[in-house]
Amino acid sequence: SGSAQGNTNSGGVKTIKIALESQDPPYSYADNNGKPAGFDLAVLKELDKKLPQYSFEYSVQDYETALVGVKQGKYDALIGAFFKTKARAEQYLLSTPYNYYFMNLIVPEGSPINSLKDMNGKTLDPIVPTDGRYLAIHDWLKRNPKVKITVPEVSNQSTFQDMFNSVHDGTYDAVYLSKAQYEGVASTLGYKMKVTDIVDGAGTVVLYNKEQKDLQGAIDKQIDSLITDGTLPKLTQKWFKQDNFALAKKLDVFQN
Amino acid sequence: MSTQKASTNGIVITLHDIHKTFGEHEILKGISLEVHQGEVLAILGSSGSGKTTLLRCINALEIPASGTVSIDGQKIDYSQKHSRQDVLHLRRKTAMVFQSYNLFRNKTALQNVMEGLHVVQKKSRDEARQEARKALADVGLSEFEDRYPVQLSGGQQQRVSIARALALKPSVILFDEPTSALDPELVSDVNEAITAVAKTGVTMIIVTHEIGFARRVASQVVFVDQGRILERGTPEEVIDHPKEPRVQAFISKLSYK
């Protein structure tokens, strides 16, 4: 097989097909014209500049299709704010983190909740089990066995607005989400919510098809150098108004 | 050869000035008719003259444009409004044998005959079965009672259809060419069955092309032409000594037999 085995053109430049997840703004999404957009794309563009032997070709794709597509070799790599897990490492090659994803709790104004520990005995807004947040919270709970938080499961993720509504009206106690996502809809809510300090964080990685060892090696090297030379921290500053790498170091989740 | 069965009984069917049109075509152009109880009326006429349509108007399978039909005290005036109940009551006084048989496809021969007895006349299943068996035997189909219509020959289907009507013993039975698929032997069997039922006071109207059969079984004959009754009388009168030239011409064609 290998319809996606990169084609090498006369100049020795290998074309790499990269899928971007389509519905995860601001990290990775398709703009209204269907073109890829988002922070992850900006990272890829930086990487492409550094890798003269490769030329990246982007396509935005639905979440599951993208995952299946990389595994089947239709795409060589996939990006879209993916966390790392052991099970995933068995299915794909994973890069080192090119960014860090931070979770906050969004609670009603005046709520005493400031951290996940304050959530002991309380209930989070429901999360779809296929969502990265679901893994993240359960991972955290495993690391903090004394804290008991109820995480209801649903199969249809409600919109951000509805999540905040159901915390605002007291159905649930907090939404487990990133600050950036809250800010995306804050102005449409009609009321204010409190965003706690960062409660957890994890690196996000590129997923490669298992055959793409070389690509993995090349990109990993460049990610490290882009972090060291400050390109990626600057990029996070531009997109998220904060240096995600510095934050990660502070929270002790930095892995590079 | 035929014997005139003079009727001393009351009138069972009265048709008055029945008109029926399909689209622009006027098929029945004012038919009036009276039939006495126990009488067997044969309707003769050429193809397309409106015989089937007339039978269908009698039991309201076609709704006439105007005119009145009354059967055994049940009357409908088609110029006025009439309810579905009226139609049903009228229809329950009659049974019909269709030109194309119209057996219930999902029922065996026996069930075809039983159905009306059990469902409409509310007879017990056993009683209905017994009567149905008898009716099938009368038309020589005892062996075929468990066959479905698709498994029967043309003549067998036609006989089931006749048995179905006879078993109901309604006031009036309407036959549309009941012997068209039957051989001479069976025609005479059916003739016997019909005559026997007529003796019990059931009135019959039979559309037929078999003049011999008409002469033998009918007490009255009408000749229909282009939606009008041209001549009526006893079989002798109409068949043997027709007055109208049109009827004479029609009957004369028989001579080749």
Binding site: K71, T85, R88, N156 | F104, R105, V120
Partner: protein
């Protein structure tokens, strides 16, 4: 294809555990869909003025709007309805447990009811006119004729289409995940979330669906064979299209 066969095998029982929910959803939806189709079909066939047109408009609307969108509307509407029913017949509204199962059945039944209405109408019309007349002629009233003769024949005619919709509905229940009813396909999806083996999990689900559908096809085939004897051309009169 590159598949994780170990996962496929180990995941099969997990996915299978979602089957009962799928079957229950299918059962109730089909039941109500048929009930609705019979009523609506009856109204169309009996040509009750106004009602007939209303039914046609309702059906066109139901069919014209994607089921996903309808379910999403249910997703938002049901909490309000449920809140309104608070205290009614002892029902306790709990915003954390919204009765979405009923909503899923309702939406699926309405949708398939609209489709099956056409099956009812066309099968009843496909019964030969002579059969109606014969029923009239032996003095049956409309109801008797329809129940004893027309429906049994129409039922046979409708079996192939019914099988189509039955299977379609079985698979359609997967959309119930929109209103948070977790049936088999969603179970499969969730089971794949950790390792991203979506294709493997879906194939597991597909195998189970396929087996169930084959069962349905077989059953309906037997059923038709059983009740449809009279409709078939006997023996050698059954001939393929071509010869």
């Amino acid at each position: 294809m590159d598949l994780d066969y170990d996962f496929m095998i180990s995941d099969l029982p997990t996915v299978l555990a979602g089957l009962p929910k799928t079957l229950i959803l299918t059962f109730w939806s089909m039941l109500f869909a048929i009930a609705m189709a019979v009523v609506f079909g009856g109204l169309i066939l009996s040509r009750v003025p106004i009602l007939k047109q209303s039914v046609i408009i309702i059906n066109t609307f139901i069919k014209g709007v994607p089921l996903t969108v309808q379910l999403l509307f249910c997703y938002y509407a049901v909490p309000y309805v449920a809140k309104g029913c608070n205290g009614f017949l002892g029902y306790q509204y709990n915003p954390r447990h919204i009765p979405y199962f009923a909503a899923a059945v309702f939406a699926l039944a309405a949708n398939f009811g609209a489709y099956i209405t056409d099956v009812v109408v066309s099968s009843m019309r496909a019964v030969d006119r002579g059969q109606y007349e014969a029923a009239d002629a032996v003095g049956m009233n409309k109801f008797q004729g329809i129940t004893h003769l027309i429906i049994p024949q129409a039922a046979v005619i409708s079996i192939p289409s019914m099988t189509n919709y039955f299977i379609w509905l079985l698979k359609g229940t997967a959309l119930a995940s929109i209103v948070n009813v977790v049936e088999m396909l969603t179970t499969a999806k969730i089971s794949a979330a950790d390792g991203y083996q979506y294709l493997e999990a879906y194939i597991d689900a597909a195998v189970i669906y396929w087996a169930v559908c084959a069962g349905i096809e077989f059953m309906m085939g037997r059923f038709e064979h059983h009740i449809g004897f009279f409709m078939r051309q006997p023996e050698s009169r059954v001939r393929p299209i071509s010869s």
